[in-house]
């Protein structure tokens, strides 16, 4: 089947409405509560091993590239 040239990519159009603008002003600069901060902080700290492993792989690739 030939692809339809009129087909648009499946990307949603922006859905912001005027009350969204108002809400974003109201929340701009507002600090998250301690519970939320702790939750995010815990999740981020859990990424340490993944970060270190990715870093080792990157360095190994770079070393491999240099040795060639």
């Amino acid at each position: 089947m030939k692809p339809n040239s009129n087909m648009k990519p499946n990307i949603p159009s922006p859905r912001f409405e005027e009350n969204d603008a108002t809400r974003l002003i109201a929340t701009f600069g507002a600090k998250p509560c301690e519970e939320t901060k702790d939750k995010i902080q815990g999740m981020l700290k859990d990424q340490k091993q993944q970060f270190l492993e990715s870093n080792r792989e990157r360095e190994a690739r770079a070393k491999d590239g240099r040795s060639r």
Binding site: A21, R23, L24, I25, A26, G29, L52, S54, N55
Partner: protein
Amino acid sequence: MSPPTTTEPPDKAAEAVFERRLAAVTQAVDNYHTYLMEYLHRLTRQWQDAENLLQDLWRHVLLNFDEAHIRSLPLLRRKAYQLFVDHYRRQVRRGEILSDEVPEIPVQQDRFAACTPEEEEAVKRRFWSEYPNIDLTTQQKDVLWLNARYGFTYKEIEARTGIASSTVGDWIAIARTKLTEAMNNEAKL
């Protein structure tokens, strides 16, 4: 006999980089988490989805963002939008329907109570600097800010600024329209 297991000594330099990045992301969370949560909720119309996407965003920022850009709100918003697009496509593939109902969650006014007038002024400047090309006067921005941020009525804004309430109403309508256009244009980029 099994070979002895060798554990590599931890890479101190990489750990230091991680700690530095973590500190930068923690500051970005403090500054922008609430705002980005609202931003993503306005896109997804689902609090749970918005929360999940925001966690994905912070994880991505920590692991992949250029360190100099971790606290850049336009880039954070841009990435948040990309994550939303991926999420939307997944939903379409699964045949899930987005809810059009937006739950109204009242703004907690006490979130601003701790801010000094100078801090609030700085927040306002930072907000409008996000939209440098918006065609609004400072007064028009100010009346929208007073109405949207603190919930002042047109009459109350008239009492505070001396601008007639009918003009205040017109300016708020104009400012809301132009800000919405600016937000939608940004998302289309």
